[in-house]
């Protein structure tokens, strides 16, 4: 059995090396998949922090907020122009993204506390 495997390998050294490399990748991705599942199983890792690319609607959806909470935070009239990101909105208002994120988090906490 071993002799036959070795003979096949000697016959096709390039493909054989590719095979070993693929086996290595199998081990690598198996380990990473397990690590990812373990990491994300922890609920603390799942709250997605505010980032500049997000739109107000995106945050409303992913944090499950009523839209009014968001409009209040942005102290604009209706929901601002579609597809404006939080990064752009912060810039418009002359504040940093961090300030805006803090405002959103505070309003979210207040809303969640009130609706308990």
């Amino acid at each position: 059995m071993m002799a036959r495997l070795r003979a096949s390998f000697a016959r096709h050294p390039v493909l054989g090396s590719g095979f070993l490399l693929a086996l290595g990748l199998v081990v690598f991705f198996a380990a990473r998949s397990v690590a990812a599942l373990v990491f994300w199983a922890d609920p603390a890792h799942r709250d997605q922090p505010i980032e500049g690319w997000m739109t107000p609607r995106y945050v409303v959806q992913s944090w499950q907020l009523p839209p009014e909470v968001m409009t209040e935070i942005l102290n604009a009239g209706p929901m601002p122009d579609r597809r404006r990101t939080l990064g752009e909105i912060a810039e418009d208002q002359g504040i940093t993204l961090n300030d805006l994120a803090t405002r959103i988090t505070a309003a979210t906490d207040a809303h969640r506390a009130a609706s308990k």
Partner: protein
């Protein structure tokens, strides 16, 4: 990710197109993100998946055509070396037998292998109609799967993208090891036809 609201849908189509040509662009991540934006109401899910789908199908056709052109460069090798001729014959036999389902599954289940199947399929003279029929079905699953994941788990796209990337890498490595192992270690002997 900021690129989706900024540049809109066309970017997504361009990225899925390029990903079918083995260029390192984050197509899966952008489709998950696109699905999440659709869930938030910033885009329509149909336009997100439609554009991604068109890009992917066009990319497959381009990759297949590149493979066909490239195969002419290799035409001389075929007869010069017994070992290579044997391998090429095996690869072509493999494609004849498993080409259709292989194209289908390499669109979504083992999608990292997809672009290479496009090139090899074109080079190995896989029937174009067969390639296209299985390909467009597979791309529908790929686009539906990833935009659907983003739509469903719109609050946790970092999680979904991370897990999906690793599992799809694992499946692709398994398939690659299986195919290469078959080519190298299958018993020799007179071809049984």
């Amino acid at each position: 990710m900021a690129m989706i609201p900024d540049y809109g849908l066309w970017l997504l189509g361009v990225v899925t197109f390029l990903s079918c040509l083995a260029l390192p662009v984050p197509a899966s991540l952008l489709m998950i993100g696109g699905g999440a934006f659709a869930a938030a109401g910033d885009f329509a899910l149909t336009s997100i998946s439609g554009v991604a789908y068109l890009g992917a199908v066009a990319g497959d056709q381009t990759g297949f055509a590149i493979g066909q052109r490239g195969s002419r460069l290799f035409a001389g090798i075929r007869t010069t070396s017994g070992k290579r001729a044997e391998l090429l014959a095996r690869a072509e036999h493999f494609f004849d037998k498993w080409g259709g389902p292989g194209v289908f599954l390499s669109r979504w289940l083992v999608s990292p292998l997809g672009p290479y199947i496009n090139f090899i399929g074109g080079a190995a003279r896989l029937n174009w109609l067969k390639f296209t029929a299985w390909g467009i079905a597979g791309e529908a699953v790929w686009v539906g799967l990833y935009t659907g994941l983003g739509y469903t788990f719109s609050g946790q796209i970092a999680m979904v993208a991370d897990i999906a990337a690793n599992i799809s890498g694992l499946l692709a490595a398994l398939a690659g090891a299986g195919a290469l192992g078959w080519l190298v270690f299958r018993p020799h002997g007179p071809p049984r036809a």
